[in-house]
């Protein structure tokens, strides 16, 4: 048995009526402020809106009329008889205690980190390995024709040089584990400069500038092994899927897709995607380093060409693959350390 003051809205007009409500655990009896009886409703048919901050509590009566009250305690007592919205009451409990809010914040950070570090890469890996080979070919060929249209020109290297490098490339490809087929393509590109990249289908492109920069075949071995590792590990497709995953996580965090495309979301998205790309580069370097140590006993030629690539791109600061790669100093150091570990 308890009483509380409330405002009654009948749902038919906007008139507000000050009332006193009396409840006995079964029925709500509503009287006017003058004491006149207005109505009585079974508590069973009433719907109490879940609590939210310190906002006014509302109770919907069976016919759609509504009671508003500031008396939080009285409604909390009423709710003891009401087993609806258990989830929302739990949520309100979370929201009402600073300790739990801090816990939620920590949980949020942990979850986002976990998704980005493990969840998304794992899902992207699964998705990438389920892409049929034929589709991979189509995607790669389309990307190649786009690149050809925009940045690439026919190679100007002499035919014998091409044949020589290709046979060296095929030798390395033959040493690679796995059943992927690799094919080397030559292109000239003043825009891109000295560079190499791999397409998911196993086609690997090198620019004339890169070939000219190499002082020996051994230097190219590291580059080829690096790109082949990208192909074997399906880094291209995984990257596409991972970036899609990041888009979804950012959308969930920012509430909707519209704000996920906004400027504020662009920075975290970029940072995460860069992190992924560096991770793949490290993996490819590791694979290349292992191959070089196994076959030639040293990563030195690869380190030397990396050093030269970095110096060159530093000078003309052309957009190059170097910028998304981990700092070259770091990469060279890693390769050196790898050698020490292996010996």
């Amino acid at each position: 048995m308890s009483r509380f003051a409330a405002t009654l809205f009948d749902g038919k007009s906007s008139a507000a009526r000050a009332v006193n409500v009396e409840q006995d655990g079964k029925t709500l009896s509503i009287c006017g402020s003058d004491g006149d009886f207005i109505r009585a409703d079974p508590l069973d048919g009433c719907r109490i809106t879940p609590p939210l901050g310190k906002t006014r509590r509302t109770i919907y009566l069976p016919d759609g009329a509504r009671l508003d009250t500031d008396n939080q305690d009285a409604v909390a007592e009423l709710e003891l008889y009401d087993t609806k919205h258990p989830g929302m009451k739990l949520v309100h409990g979370l929201e009402s205690r600073w300790g739990l809010v801090v816990f939620s914040l920590a949980g949020l950070v942990l979850c986002v980190w976990f998704f980005i570090a493990y969840g998304i890469p794992l899902l992207a890996d699964k998705a990438a390995s389920s892409v049929p080979t034929a589709m991979m070919e189509t995607v790669s060929d389309r990307a190649l024709s786009q690149l050809d249209k925009r940045f690439l020109e026919k190679t100007e290297l002499p035919k014998p040089r091409i044949a020589e490098i290709r046979s060296y490339f095929n030798e390395i490809a033959g040493n690679m584990k796995g059943d992927r087929h690799f094919r080397l393509l030559f292109r000239k590109s003043p825009q891109i400069g000295a560079n190499a990249f791999a397409l998911p289908s196993g086609k690997i492109l090198v620019t004339d500038d890169l070939i000219k920069m190499a002082e020996s075949r051994k230097e190219l071995a590291g580059i080829f092994a690096h790109e082949m590792a990208h192909v074997q590990e399906r880094h291209g497709l995984r990257m596409v899927f991972q970036n899609a995953g990041v888009f979804f996580v950012i959308s969930a965090l920012f509430g909707d897709v519209v704000s996920a495309t906004s400027l504020g979301a662009a920075l975290p998205t970029m940072l995460v995607e860069r992190g992924y790309s560096r991770q793949f580069e490290r993996q490819a370097d590791l694979a290349a380093g292992k191959y070089l140590i196994r076959r030639m006993g040293s990563t030195k030629p690869y380190r030397r060409i990396l050093q030269r690539l970095a110096e060159k791109s530093g000078r003309n600061s052309a957009p190059s693959m170097i910028s998304t790669h981990p700092g070259v100093k770091n990469r060279i150091l890693r390769l050196k350390n790898l050698e020490k570990i292996r010996k």
Binding site: G11, S13, S14, L52, G53, A65, L108, V258
Partner: protein, 367 residues
Amino acid sequence: MENTVSGPDHQRSLQEVSTPGSKIYPLAFTGTGSEFFRIWIVNLFLTIITLGIYAAWAKVRTRRYFFANTFLAGQAFDYLADPKVILRGNLIIAGAIGIYLLLDIFTPAYSAVVILLFLLALPFLIYKSLRFNAHNSAYRNIRFRFMGTAGESYKVYALYALLVPLTLGLIIPYWVFRQKAYFFGRLSYGSTQSRFYGRPGYFYAIYLLAGLITVGLIIGVLIYTATTAMMADSSSSGKAWATAGFVIVTSMLLFALIIIVISLLKQFVYARLTNHCLDSTNLGTLRFEGSLKAWELMWIRFTNTLAIIFSAGLLIPWAKVRRARYIIEHIRAITPGSLEDFAAATEADQTAIGEAAVDFFDIEIGL
């Protein structure tokens, strides 16, 4: 619940409206940053651990928080949407985006088709969204309704959009006017329908003013670049470094200035048009007044942005509450009658609207 604004502008409008017997009800906002912070964090946490499913509940809780803390004449608004309906809409949208992303990777030719389909559906989605949100907004236990039709939405959001390039953009102010008219003129509170008598001329005046300032800014930048280029040419090699430094510093200042001016222009257009639309809307005997100020809105936007950046996003809820409070507390309702006399829509109307409002796609059109 006294109005917190003062100043010459406010006093002038007070005198204007003090027709005998008219009552002025300023809107009030009681939400706080720290309370909303807790709701917001829990929303994000639950959304992430449920892989996005809770987002629908989070949306309803957020909206309800802002509605339930908005008071007019001592009574609060309410947001009544069913989260399960929003979840269904979210799933459909997530599916569509997933399809789009896959198509974009593998067959980009078809992804363009998805975009086209989305654009074709957009006016319908806006219409559905307005209808859903109005139907689920209530005050004094009387629901709002949106009476606009899908056909009108296609006219406003598709036909006029197509006319923009044909008229070299000259139709944009009229287009915005029609969008506002579609919203403010087609609302209904219970059985009382709103009337909107905004003037396209006012929209043209505001956009013209904003346009003139932009043109002035562009001319200023051009003159500046031309003079600094000449200075760089004429300066001797010894002074080259000093000149370069000067150019860099002033360019950065100029860049900051442009950003501030553009932001101010956006707030100016928003403030003036919102005030005008509120002033031009009647709900029976009830009319409204907005007293938003561009400078104050810009100051809020600027300091909010700084606060969000330097708190790594943790002050987002505080910023949202702050801006909402400013806007809400600069709106007033005026009536010679009473707020107690509005009748609910007839039951048949209510049911029809309720059935039509079951689908929900949250399209923010920034009203």
